[in-house]
Symmetry: D2
Subunit: 336 residues, 4 copies
C-alpha cells in the first residue's frame, strides 16, 4: 500500500484524488495540501475519505506516513516543490510541465541523481490513453516496422481565456507540450530539430498576447523519422485528438472517441456523434492508468513509465518551437 499526499487541490489535483480513490488498488490518499483551499473543494476531499487537509505542503513532506506526493500546484512551483520532496525522501509524481526553464528542470535532475531510490514520474497522461498506447504497442510489436512519418492532430474545442495565455507559457508550452511528448512516445525517440509554421486564425486577442492559435510543427526525430503536429485552439466539432504512425511495414491510426457508436441516417446524411468533449472526459481513464503505473513503480521499485528525461525533452521542444516562430527557421534542440 502506497500512502499518497496531494499538493495542490485544483482541477488536476482533484482528478488524481478521485482516480486513486476509485480506480487504484494498493494506494490511498492520506493528505491534501493547498494554500487556498475552497470550502467545496474541502467537502469533496473529505468525501473521498482523506484524513488530513492542510495549507502547507511541507506538512506532507514532513509526514513519515506519506510515501509519495503528487505535485499539482501552479507550474512555477513544480520544480522547487519536487526538489524539496525528493530531498524529503518521497517519491514524486509531478504534473507537466516540470518547468518552463531548462535550468530548473536540470536542478530536478540533479536532485534525482543524488537520490537514486526516488521514483519521479511526469504527468504526461496521454501515453496511457487506450488509443495512443495501442499505437505504441503495435510499434513495439514490429507491426509498423521502421518509423517514417508520424502525424498528430491536436485541436481544442475552445481557446483558453486570453488572460491565461501569458501565464501558461503560450500554446507550445501549455497545449502542444502534450503532443511533443506524444511524438517522442509514439516514435520511441527524441527530437533533433523543429520547424513551426503558425498563425493567428481563431482569435485576434490571442495574437495580441503575443501567442499563436494555429500551427503546423514539423520535427525530425533522432531516429530518423519525420513528425508533424497540427494544432488549433478551436475545432467547432470538439476535441480532436488523433495520431497516425506510418512505417516500413504498416500504419497504425487512431480515431476520436465518441460517447456512443450510434449512427443516425436520415434525409440529411449519415451522422455519428462528435468526439468526447474535452480532456477530462477523453482522458479520464488515462489519468487512472498513469496513477496505477506510478503506484506500481513506487511499490515494486520498478522504473517509472515517464521519467525526468521525457519531462525535459518536451519543454526543450516547446522552447525550440517558440524560437522557430521568432526566428522563422528550423531550430535544433542542440542549440538550446
Amino acid at each position: 500500500m502506497i500512502n499518497i499526499g496531494i499538493i495542490g487541490a485544483g482541477r488536476i489535483g482533484k482528478v488524481h484524488l478521485q482516480s486513486i480513490t476509485m480506480h487504484v488498488k494498493n494506494a490511498c490518499v492520506k493528505a491534501v495540501a493547498d494554500p487556498c483551499m475552497k470550502e467545496d473543494t474541502e467537502i469533496f476531499v473529505r468525501g473521498m475519505g482523506v484524513e488530513k487537509i492542510c495549507r502547507d505542503y511541507r506538512e506532507l513532506l514532513a509526514d513519515p506516513g506519506i510515501d509519495a506526493v503528487l505535485v499539482c500546484s501552479s507550474t512555477d512551483t513544480h520544480a522547487a516543490i519536487s526538489i524539496e520532496a525528493i530531498e524529503a525522501g518521497k517519491h514524486v509524481f509531478c504534473e507537466k510541465p516540470v518547468d518552463h526553464a531548462l535550468d530548473r528542470i536540470e536542478a530536478v535532475e540533479e536532485a534525482l541523481a543524488a537520490h537514486p531510490g526516488c521514483k519521479f514520474q511526469v504527468g504526461f497522461n496521454r501515453r496511457f490513453d487506450h488509443n495512443f498506447a495501442a499505437v505504441r504497442k503495435a510499434y513495439d510489436q514490429g507491426k509498423i516496422g521502421q518509423a517514417h512519418i508520424l502525424k498528430i492532430t491536436s485541436r481544442d474545442p475552445e481557446p483558453p481565456n486570453p488572460a491565461y495565455i501569458k501565464v501558461s507559457g503560450g500554446m507550445f508550452l501549455d497545449m502542444t507540450i502534450h503532443d511533443f511528448d506524444m511524438a517522442c512516445f509514439l516514435t520511441d525517440s527524441d527530437v533533433e530539430e523543429v520547424y513551426v509554421q503558425s498563425a493567428v486564425l481563431v482569435d485576434p486577442a490571442i495574437g495580441e498576447q503575443g501567442d499563436v492559435d494555429t500551427a503546423i510543427i514539423t520535427m525530425k526525430m533522432t531516429n530518423g523519422a519525420l513528425a508533424v503536429i497540427d494544432n488549433s485552439r478551436r475545432a467547432v466539432y470538439g476535441y480532436d485528438q488523433r495520431a497516425e504512425l506510418f512505417g516500413s511495414k504498416g500504419m497504425a491510426a487512431t480515431a476520436n472517441d465518441t460517447p456512443s457508436t450510434v449512427i443516425l441516417s436520415n434525409g440529411e446524411g449519415i451522422t455519428g456523434e462528435k468526439p468526447l468533449y474535452f480532456f477530462l472526459e477523453r482522458y479520464m481513464e488515462s489519468f487512472a492508468e498513469e496513477m496505477r503505473q506510478f503506484v506500481s513503480a513506487c511499490e515494486n521499485g520498478t522504473p517509472v513509465p515517464v521519467g525526468i528525461h521525457a519531462g525535459m525533452q518536451a519543454v526543450k521542444i516547446g522552447l525550440a518551437a517558440r524560437r522557430s516562430v521568432e526566428e522563422h527557421r528550423p531550430v535544433k534542440l542542440a542549440e538550446l
Copy 2:
C-alpha cells in the same frame, strides 16, 4: 464478336444497350425491337450506333446475323418470347422475373432441355455488384466457414406508384425477388422454407392494393443456414442495400456505396453522405458485368453465371412468401 438484339426499349433495355456499347468488348447491339418505341428513345438508340430499329421482335429472331437476344419486354411476355427465341436458335438473356407462373417457367426449362446449346441467363444483376460478389468470394475462399446466418437489408428510397403494385405482382415478386436470389447466391444454396412477418407502415394506399410495404422474411436454406431479409418500400436516407454473411469461421458484411468518402465534422456531428440514390446508380457497374459474363458464355460456350434454375427458385420463394402472408404460417417450397 457476339451480335445482339434487344427486345424492349424501356428503361432496362436502354441500360443494357448503353452498357454493351460502352463497356463490353466483343459484343455489338445490332437491332432493337419495341412495339411502341418513342421518338426520343429512337434517337438514343441511333446515337448508340444501332443499325436496325423495328417494332416486331420476330424480325430479330428471324435475322441470322443476330446471335443473342435480351428479353427486356413486359414481364408477362418474358417466358413466351424466351421460348420463341430459344427455338429460333438464339442465346437468351431474360430479365427477371422469368414469369410469375411456375408452369410458364417450366415451359422455358423444357425449351432449354430441347436446345442444349442455348445459353440462357436470368437478369439478377446484383450478383455482379462489387460488394455482394466480394462476400460470395470470401465464402468460396472458405473465409466464412459453414454458413450459419445470412442477413439482407433491402430498402427502397420511395415506394412505387400504387397503380404499379398490381401489375408488378406485389412487393415479393417485384422488389424482394432480387433479395431472394441474393440469399441463394450468397449462401450458394436453395431455399427450403419461408416465413413472412409483414405490415403496411409506409403508405395505406399500398395496403388498399392488397400488398405490403414492410416485411421481415425468414428462410431456412437447404444447406442448413438461416437467412433473414428485411424490406421497406421507403428509407428516408435513400437506397439501403446491405448483406452480412455469418458463419463458423467469420463474417463478411457490406456497407452502402456513397457518392464520395467525404465526412463533414461540425457542431452538428460527424456526417457522411447518403447512399447512392437508386438502383441505376448503385448497380450500374453490375449491369455491365452481367453483360460481359453473358457475352463471354455465348462466345466461349461456357456456362452462364445465372441460369434458369435461379430464375425458378426466386419466383418459387416469392410465391411461398405470398402464401406465408395469406396463411400466416411458414411455407415450404415443396408445397408449391
Copy 3:
C-alpha cells in the same frame, strides 16, 4: 444514503458490489449473504469494505439498517426471495429472469401490489448501455419517427458448458431474454407475436440437450413495428452486440465497442480491433448505471426504470419462442 444487502455472491453479485462501491454515490453495501461463500470471495467482499457477511439471506431481510436488497441468487430462488424481501419492507433489485414460470412472476406482482411503496427493479442492464440508450434517446426525441423495423444482433463469443444448458432454461430464457427486453425497450412496446427459425449449427452437444444454438426470431410488436433478433452461441470474432432501429424519419444503428479505435493498415488489409470480449467488459458501465438509477429511485421515491412488467414480458416472449420452435408456427403472447 441507501444501505444495501446483496443476496448471492456469485459473479453478478460481485459485479454489483464493485459497481456500487466504486461508482455509485449515496449507496453503501452493508451486507452480503451467500449460503456457500468461498474464501476468496469473502476476501474480495471484505476488501470492498462490507461489514457483514453471512450465509442466510434472512439475516439481511431482518436487518432494519438495510434499505434495499439485490437478489443475485440462483434463478429458481429469485421469485421466492423477492417476495420475502418485499414483505420485509425492502426495496428489491432482482436479477433476470425473475423466474421461468409465469405464475411465480405473477406472485411477485401480487406482492408488489400489496406493497406499493416498494421499488422493484429487474436486472436488464443493457438498457443502460451507452449505445442502446442512445438509440432509445434518438427514438424518444422523434429522430426515428414511427418505428418500422428493429434489428438486433446478439452473438456470444463461446457457447456455455452443455451441462449449463438445462438449468439455464435454454437459449431463449438465458441468452435471448436480454434481446427480448431490448426489443421492448428500443421500440417502447410490448410483443404481440413471435416466430422462431432455429438450428443447431455450433455444437451438436447443445442439440443433444434439447436446445438450439442459432436462431432468427421475428416479432410483431404491439405498436405495429416488426422486429428481428439473430442469435448465435459462437461468433469467432467475439461478442457481437448491435441494434438498428429503422422508422419513418430515420435509422439509428449501433456498432460494437472495441478496446481502442486503432486501425492497422498493412499488406493484409485495413484492420480494426475485435469487439470487447464478453459481457463483463462490454457492459461494465451499464451495470454501474443501472445501480445508480435503482439507488436514485429508492432514495427519491421515483419510478424504477425497469419494473416487473418488463420482467414478465421478457419471460413471456421467451416461452412463446420456445413454443414456436416446438410447434413450428408463430405464437401469440396472448396464447400463454
Copy 4:
C-alpha cells in the same frame, strides 16, 4: 462535336483515348501521333476507332479537321508542342507538368496571351476526383468557413525505378506536384512559402540519385491558411490519397476508395480492403471528368477548370520545395 488529336501514345495518352471514346459525349479522337508507336499500341488505337495514326504531331496541327490536341508527349516537349499547337489555332490540353523551367512556362503564357480564344487546360486530373471535388464543394458552400489547416496525405504503393528519378525531376516535380496543385485547389489559394523536412527512408538508391523518398512539406497559403503534405514513395498497404480541410466552421475529410465495402470479421480482427492499387484505378473516373470539362470548355467557349496559372503555381511550389531541401530553410515563391 469536338475533334481531338492526341500527341503521344504512351500510358496517359491511351488513358485519354479510352476515356474520350467511352465516356465523353460530343468528342471524338480523330488522330493519334507518336514518333515511336509500338504495334500493340497501334492495334489498341485502331480498336478505339481512330482513323488517322501518324508519327509526326505536326500532321495533326496542320489538319483543319482537328479542333483540339492533347499534349501527352514526354515532359521536356510539353511547352514547345503546346506553343506550336496554340499558334496553329488548336485548343490544348497539356499533361502535367507544363515544364520544369519557369521561363518555358512563361513562353506558353505569352503564346496564350496572343491567342485569347485558345482553351488551354493542364492535366491536374485529381481535381475531378469525386472525393476531392466534394471537399472543395463543401468549402465553396461555406461548410468549412475560413480555411485554417489543410492536410494532404499522398503515398505511392511502390517507388519508381531509380533510373526514372532523374528524368522525372525528382519527387517534388513528379509526384508531389499533384499534391501542390491539390493544396491550391482545396484552399482556392496560391502558395506564399514552402518548407520541407525530408529524408531517404524507403530506398537508399533514391538518395544516391540525389532525391528523397519521404517528406513533410509545410506551406503558408496566400489566403492565410496553413497546409501540410506528407509523402512517401512506398506505403505497404497501397496507394494512400487523403485530404482534410479544417476551418472556422467545420472539417471535411476524405478516406481512400476501396474495391468493395466488405468488412471481414474473424479471430484476427475486423478487416476491410486495401485502397485501390494505383492511380489508374483510383483516378480513372477523374480522367474522364477532366476530359468532359475540357471538351465542354472548347465547345461552349467557357473557361477551362485548370488553366496555365495552376500549371505555373504547381511547378513554382515544386522548385521552392527543392530549394528548401537544398538550403534547409523556408522559401518564398517570390524568391524564385
